[in-house]
């Protein structure tokens, strides 16, 4: 459906960010499967790009983000450098964590990205704490804390949401519900009506949204964020989406009917949906396509850069373990 005075610039910005996220992950996947350069597991968010693209550009750079093992898109949308990210995926010097963390621990504190997490659900109460700290410091920062549908079955979901409610913290919890927890259909292992129903039971204002509708998310984001800044109260967003690829790059996702993902690709790819929206509002096709080609060009160059980056210097191995006491074998 078409809208009056549709903002095509914003629409293109949304498309560009989604294309960049996808192109980044396509290149990362090639680096893994074609080049064998990604050594650890990576979890692709292909099909879920609308959530970070719609939500995170409405934050200030100083605002805070906590993410999951599937955090490339979040990190890019928060403003991190794709080159530093790609180098991290390849475990190279210049990676945003110096090659020590890899995909599951990607972080860029310079843009308020406080880290992906290798432990499902662990970022929920930690995120509440980041908001707690910001509130104590009174510096006006707010937190966006993103986790998956599987994470709502871990204790930190309860403890983190209760904490945010009790201490009245400026945080937006986002459940990125792609319907799967690794090879398990999350609904099979979840009692009750799921994330939104649970969030409401903590008295937290909760909104449900089509997580593949970038425009709708971008409409909602400024409103949610402004309200959190104003009231200082937590909010919850339940965004329904779908993981178009496997759980990890080497997961063929044989546990779900191919027809299911085929249908999703055909009918509910957030990027295609955004392209259609733009087209239906008269955006010239070449400009729509250019978002894709620019993104691919950027991310091919990104991978090329990362590929030629050296390994971290051997002598960085004990850096940043801790200040007190030496980590070296038999240190005296």
């Amino acid at each position: 459906m078409n809208r009056a005075n549709y903002d095509r610039d914003r629409g293109m910005a949304l498309l560009r960010m989604m294309e960049r996220i996808r192109a980044f992950e396509e290149q990362a996947e090639l680096a893994a499967t074609r080049d064998g350069l990604v050594l650890g597991a990576i979890h692709l968010s292909i099909g879920q790009e609308a959530i970070p693209a719609g939500l995170l550009p409405s934050l200030d750079t100083t605002d805070l983000l906590l993410s999951t093992h599937r955090g490339h898109g979040h990190t890019l949308a928060k403003g991190a450098s794709p080159v530093a990210m790609m180098k991290e995926l390849l475990g190279r010097a210049g990676g945003c964590c110096g090659g020590k963390g890899g995909s599951m621990h990607i972080a860029d504190f310079g843009v308020g990205m406080l880290g992906a997490n290798g432990v499902v659900g662990a970022n929920i109460h930690i995120g509440a704490g980041a908001a707690h700290g910001a509130k104590l410091l009174g510096d006006g920062r707010i937190v966006v804390d993103i986790f998956g549908d599987g994470a709502i079955n871990r204790g930190p979901f309860l403890e983190g949401l209760n904490w945010a409610g009790v201490f009245e913290l400026p945080i937006l919890f986002v459940c990125e519900d792609n319907q799967y927890s690794a090879s398990t259909r999350t609904s099979d292992m979840t009692a009750g009506d799921g994330a939104a129903a649970r969030a409401r039971s903590f008295g937290i204002r909760t909104t449900e949204i089509d997580g593949n509708d970038a425009e709708a998310i971008a409409d909602l984001a400024p409103e949610l964020i402004a309200r959190i800044r104003k009231t200082g109260q937590p909010e919850f967003l339940h965004a329904r989406t779908y993981r178009l690829h496997g759980h990890t790059y080497f997961d063929p996702a044989a546990y779900r009917p191919k027809a299911e993902s085929d249908r999703q690709w055909a009918e509910d790819d957030p990027i295609q949906r955004q392209r259609d929206v733009l087209a239906s509002h008269g955006q010239p096709p070449d400009q729509i396509d250019k978002a894709r080609s620019d993104a691919v060009t950027e991310m091919e160059a990104t991978l090329a850069d990362a590929t030629i980056a050296p390994w971290p210097a051997d002598n960085t191995v004990f850096d940043d373990v801790q200040d007190i006491g030496s980590p070296a074998r038999e240190a005296f």
């Binding site: 050594l39 621990h105 432990v119 871990r154 971290p312 980590p327």
Partner: protein
């Protein structure tokens, strides 16, 4: 004797036990698809979803609920996926499972096998690579197993399932595909080390995958005329003090090699026990007290390698 991988041996042991005892069942995330490392391959088909049960991402409840089910008469096998995630269920394991029988004055048992795949697995980084066996040895009430071969992953798994104590069962993630002969009739007694090599010049104590590296190292040393008696402890609680003391009394030299952090590692317990009861030249080889990196060149610096074991052994004469 059949050839099997380390993963297949465990699956076979679980299947054989489940056929004999209908109260044995397995629970963990994604088990219905055979487990993340395929260590439950074919079991869902044979035993169905009640006995090879999926679970929500609820480590605390997987451990806690399995414990409750053990208290009422079943024998659960708990899958923690990565030993690192088991830290989400530490209260359940340490304060509840390990203590219930004693606190309740012997009214209950917790016959459980708690599987925690551990160890470095190329570029898994700090939250997916830990080896914390020494923690569990320190906790009264727990039995601690670290199988290093397909044979032991069969025999020790059978013994663990048959045991009425809770058994922390630490498989090494890097050797799921390791192949070897398995004699399903060979049984295993907790606390008996396996003599991987004989020798009178040097005792090498190890466990888990490092015991395989130590065995290789012993061959190199043998080529140099150095006879190393490699003892693969297999279970760390109880552990085979007798064999270790007997061996060091013969060799007068003890090298202890393990993948886990050296400071506060189980190697310290072995070294301390020998220092108290059969003083001799003692050397430990473990990981620096540092974190495990994603980058391979940094990760490698934390590994204990076959070459390091050979070098450390040679240095025991210098």
């Amino acid at each position: 004797m059949e050839q099997m991988t380390y993963a297949q041996a465990a699956a076979r042991a679980v299947a054989d036990a489940m056929r004999q005892d209908p109260t044995v069942w397995c629970v963990g995330e994604d088990l219905g698809r055979g487990g993340v490392f395929k260590q439950y391959a074919d079991l869902p088909e044979e035993f169905g979803p009640d006995r090879i049960s999926d679970a929500p991402i609820s480590e605390a409840a997987i451990m806690g609920a399995a414990f409750g089910a053990a208290l009422v008469g079943t024998r659960p096998i708990v899958e923690m996926r990565f030993a690192d995630f088991a830290l989400c269920a530490t209260d359940e394991l340490v304060n509840q499972i390990a203590k219930a029988r004693f606190m309740f004055g012997g009214q209950s048992r917790a016959p459980m096998v708690i599987r925690k795949p551990m160890g470095m697995w190329r570029s898994s980084a700090a939250q997916h690579s830990q080896s914390l066996e020494s923690w569990y040895v320190h906790i009264p009430g727990l039995v601690v197993c670290c199988p290093a071969t397909p044979q032991d992953n069969y025999s020790m798994m059978r013994a663990a399932i048959a045991c009425d104590d809770p058994v922390v069962y630490l498989e090494h993630k890097d050797i799921w595909a390791l192949e070897g002969p398995v004699d399903v009739a060979e049984d295993y007694a907790f606390g008996k080390a396996r003599r991987r090599t004989e020798g009178n010049d040097l005792t090498i104590v190890s466990w888990s995958n490092t015991a395989n590296l130590a065995t290789q190292a012993a061959l190199t040393l043998a080529g140099e005329g150095v006879g190393a008696n490699v003892l693969d402890l297999r279970s760390l609680w109880p552990w085979d003090k007798e064999s270790v003391l007997e061996s060091v009394r013969r060799t007068g030299r003890l090298l202890i090699a393990h993948e886990s952090v050296q400071v506060g590692g189980f190697g310290a317990e072995v070294a301390a026990t020998v220092a108290e009861h059969a003083p001799c030249r003692i050397k430990r080889l473990g990981s620096p007290r540092s974190l495990i990196s994603y980058a391979p060149n940094l990760e490698d610096q934390l590994r204990v390698t076959e070459q390091m074991i050979v070098d450390a052994a040679r240095a025991m004469w210098s």
